[in-house]
């Protein structure tokens, strides 16, 4: 090239002009910038856990590639859209109270809820299924006795005036949750809470100020003997005493109080087991949960006695709080403990109760309220589950899948490139088609990452559509510009116009097919499986029409122009 330049100066200058023109063209610039952004989105900040992603990128892989299970829950009858959202949140609360697992729960239409998870173990799946159907076992306990349980709650009065969040002062918002107990629980509540507040001092106006006892709320508390190490116990004791607003643990919570309320046998292991304690625990249950820092000899000793032992790992929460599935600690108030009467026979019975609390801002207050409302309602689903449909994909299947699908994608790409090269017999035309095709894949992958949707088989099929119609459009553009340039001396602009009409119309037909899917994906079960496919295909059509194909038109125009000038 350099040699050529020294001889034919005019052509060389033309070429230089072309190069600067090339980058100055806004269509090409737009493509380059979009590509850089897409690369950034796909590759930068890959700080996530590597599992579940494609290599070292931000591309999240779907169920088909990673393995997992899809549960489609059908409710007994159709319900309102608020109701189904509520049922969906109750279900997620039930199967994943800590919110740590990778479950997605999506309501579809008015009767279906789709649950996706990475779990494939049949035993675990059965547990999940049972949890969805079963009543969550909710307990509110005081001094080691049950005050009321989930199935004794008639209902949470969501429609009541007192349900909601109110501004209680500067930087203080009060939330309030009214609910109704059944008769049996009302009597028990009155009995168990009688005189559980005591006046500790008097206010300036002479009114007594009370300090009241606290109830602990549990959801699906395990029936098991709990064995913790001394170290773990000390950590938990300190953590509970410090409190944690996020976990609804008030400051100065006494670990012995929580253990008493759990109504479970708890052993703090100090090197030996008391035979009598083990024997009496075994009478109640043969299950034991052991803190994971205790060594295997402890597990063996328990197994010898006949216990089924589970090791429970320490998370960020206090270990014992996690094991118990404790949810909240709620203080009684003097208004309901009948402090004004001397004898329980005169006590007033309250079936309508109200739990309230204060937070610093309205948003926190409302999330506290909703969390507790769902907890109280989780005893029973407002509408029962009719059936659960299930689909599992084994993870090892997913693994081989992943590499195969990638291989197939690359192979298809090479084959397409070969066909194009054979047809045009000119690498200067074949290479841009190849590069633009690749750009469309990258831009669409960037889009998939941005929407935080996983790349599953449906999205992969969408990519096939994008590549296919993309290459089709590029061939149309190339032929249109080449054919016309040979015969009529039209301006480059009008040459491109005919091509534009064709690719626009074909892009809009693609959008016409895919639009109904994206619009109704949340309305019909099954259609949601096509959502990823439709979104990618539609977005691909738009990216093609507005970014890649205009740039391609410009590139081909320049190349054809150059070829003609040389001729």
């Amino acid at each position: 090239m350099v040699n050529e330049c020294s001889n034919i100066t005019v052509v060389c200058r033309e070429e230089e002009k072309m190069n600067t023109k090339f980058l100055k063209n806004w269509r090409i610039l737009l493509l380059v910038i979009s590509l850089l952004l897409a690369f950034g989105v796909i590759l930068i900040n890959t700080t996530h856990d590597e599992t579940g992603y494609l290599g070292n990128t931000n591309i999240k892989l779907g169920l088909d590639f990673e393995g997992g299970t899809l549960l489609q829950i059908e409710l007994q009858n159709e319900v309102s859209s608020e109701e189904i959202t509520r049922i969906a949140s109750i279900i997620s609360q039930r199967i994943d109270p800590s919110g740590l697992k990778d479950y997605t729960v999506t309501p579809i239409g008015n009767q279906f809820i789709v649950l996706q998870m990475s779990e494939t173990d049949p035993v675990e799946l059965e547990k999940v299924e049972t949890r969805i159907r079963q009543q969550g076992k909710f307990e509110a306990n005081l001094n080691g006795e049950i005050v009321f349980t989930g199935d004794e709650i008639r209902k949470v009065l969501r429609g009541d005036n007192s349900f909601g969040v109110y501004k209680a002062g500067t930087n203080s918002f009060e939330w309030s949750l009214p609910f109704v107990l059944n008769e049996q629980a009302t009597i028990r509540f009155t009995e168990k809470t009688f005189h559980k507040c005591s006046a500790t001092s008097f206010s300036a106006s002479g009114q007594p100020i009370y300090e009241c006892e606290k109830t602990t709320f549990f959801l699906d508390k395990p029936e098991a003997l709990i064995v913790t190490s001394e170290d773990q116990y000390a950590i938990d004791e300190a953590m509970l005493y410090n409190g944690d607003t996020f976990l609804n643990i008030p400051a100065q919570t006494d670990i012995t109080q929580v253990i008493e309320d759990s109504r479970l046998d708890v052993i703090v292991y100090n090197g030996v087991f008391d035979e009598n304690v083990l024997a009496s625990a075994l009478l109640k249950t043969n299950k034991a949960i052991v803190s994971s820092d205790l060594n295997n000899s402890v597990v063996l000793a328990l197994q010898e006695k006949g216990f089924e032992v589970t090791k429970f790992n320490f998370d960020t929460q206090p270990w014992i709080w996690d094991v118990f599935n404790a949810q909240q600690i709620i203080s009684l108030t003097e208004g309901i403990t009948n402090e004004d009467v001397a004898d329980i026979s005169q006590a007033k019975q309250f079936s309508n109760l109200r739990i309230s609390g204060r937070r610093e801002n309205a948003q926190d207050a409302s999330s506290s309220l909703n969390e507790l409302a769902i907890l109280l309602e989780s005893g029973s689903l407002p509408t029962p589950v009719k059936s659960i449909s299930k689909e599992t994909i084994s993870p090892s299947l997913g693994e081989s899948f992943k590499s195969l699908v990638i291989m197939m994608g690359i192979l298809a790409f090479i084959v397409v490139g070969a066909v194009v090269a054979i047809r045009y017999k000119n690498w200067r035309i074949a290479i841009p088609i190849f590069i633009i095709g690749g750009s469309e894949v990258i831009l669409n992958l960037g889009f998939i990452v941005l929407t935080q949707r996983p790349l599953d088989l449906a999205a992969f099929a969408g990519l096939i559509a994008v590549i296919g119609t993309g290459v089709d459009s590029e061939i149309v553009i190339t032929d249109e510009i080449m054919a016309k340039s040979k015969k009529v001396k039209e301006s480059l602009l009008s040459r491109a116009k005919a091509a534009l009409f064709i690719i626009m119309t074909s892009a809009f037909t693609m959008i016409a097919v895919m639009l109904p899917i994206t619009m109704f994906a949340r309305a019909y079960p099954g259609i949601d499986k096509l959502y990823g496919f439709a979104v990618v295909a539609m977005m691909g059509a738009l990216i093609g029409v507005f970014i890649t194909r205009p740039a391609f038109t410009k590139i081909i125009e320049m190349i054809v122009d150059k070829i003609e000038k040389k001729e």
């Binding site: 489609q72 059936s387 084959v415 047809r423 089709d472 032929d479 037909t509």
Partner: protein
């Protein structure tokens, strides 16, 4: 400039006409297109192993041990291993139990009756009759019993297959269980979006070309392509399902591309005779279809050998549809348009 169409182009229409009749027969008469279980409800178990699998042997083993309705087994062999698809609508015992369950559900307000139904179900599945304080608790127990039974049943089925076919530990199972109502709801949803999608496409085409005959021809070609795709499904025994639906939708996208290109060039350009323009378009169109067909062939080969059903299905349907597209665009749409242009001149 070449003109492959000449004066007798109308004769070309015979080919798509005959093909359409054959395809209609394949799709609607025999062998017909079946619906997948995600649209009808039912159970599928996919087995993958390095051991050779035999269709008859699997059927015999299952029939000896179980009483499965509408059992359908298909096997596949590839260099990477063997696979079997076992499909059945349900087993009679769980069907009976589901029937009792819905009776218990519909009588929830009447404690005694509902509890009786729930208990009947529990006993039917091998449990013991219990006393319940209310119908809801009984129903939950009954639902649980049924879920447990189903899980145990599928485990038992897997174990029996492993034992009788000597599969050892080198085997993978994949399961799918879709309830009948869910299948029906999915089918309804799919029909609905297909209908709306079709109406929107017709709108886009009519707005773009604003002439009845060319627009109708494009839509006719699109229907022909879908018919070709369905014909392929009938021949290869690929069921219509939520995984094959995208293939049919893709077919629409691919098929209109060539038709739009042809129509636009024939109607909007003035260089050469219509026959010549159609010939130039055909070169472009065949390149378009050619690239896609080449990519599809690569995908079919890989997915067939490695048993990736979904991709195999999608690419096989597209292959049939695009071969159909060559016929519908160049032997049907092109002659119709040439005829239309000729008549307009007169």
């Amino acid at each position: 400039m070449d003109d492959y169409f000449g004066k007798d182009y109308k004769k070309f229409l015979i080919v798509p006409a005959i093909l359409a009749i054959i395809l209609l027969f394949l799709v609607f008469v025999a062998p017909g297109v079946s619906s997948g279980i995600d649209l009808t409800g039912g159970n599928v178990i996919i087995v993958r192993t390095a051991h050779e699998l035999n269709k008859e042997q699997i059927e015999t083993v299952l029939n000896e041990n179980f009483d499965l309705e509408e059992l359908n087994v298909s096997t596949i062999a590839s260099p990477t291993g063997y696979g079997a698809w076992i499909e059945y609508s349900k087993n009679p015992l769980s069907a009976q139990a589901e029937d009792l369950l819905s009776k218990a559900e519909s009588t929830l307000d009447d404690d005694t009756t509902s509890i009786a139904f729930s208990n009947e179900l529990i006993v039917l599945l091998g449990g013991e009759e219990k006393t319940f304080s209310n119908s809801k608790l009984a129903l939950l127990d009954a639902q649980d019993a049924l879920a447990n039974y189903k899980e145990e049943f599928s485990l038992k089925l897997q174990n029996i297959l492993v034992e009788n076919l000597d599969l050892g530990t080198d085997v993978e199972f994949q399961k799918k269980e879709i309830s009948k109502t869910l299948g029906e709801a999915s089918f309804g949803g799919m029909a609905f979006i297909a209908l709306i999608g079709f109406v929107l496409i017709v709108l886009v085409i009519f707005i773009a070309f604003r002439q009845v005959v060319p627009s109708a021809a494009i839509i006719g070609a699109m229907i022909f392509d879908i018919l070709a795709g369905l014909g392929g499904m009938a021949l290869l025994n690929i069921p219509l399902s939520l995984t094959t639906m995208p293939a049919l939708l893709l077919l629409i996208g691919y098929s209109v591309d060539t038709d739009i290109m042809l129509t636009s060039r024939l109607l909007k350009e003035r260089s050469g005779t219509p026959g010549e323009r159609a010939t130039v378009s055909m070169k472009t169109g065949l390149t378009m279809t050619g690239t896609t067909l080449a990519a599809l062939l690569a995908m079919i080969i890989v997915s067939y050998f490695y048993q990736i059903e979904v991709i195999y299905y999608i690419s096989a349907i597209l292959l049939f549809g695009l071969v159909g597209d060559v016929v519908s665009t160049w032997l049907m749409n092109a002659p119709i348009l040439l005829w239309f242009v000729e008549r307009k001149k007169k």
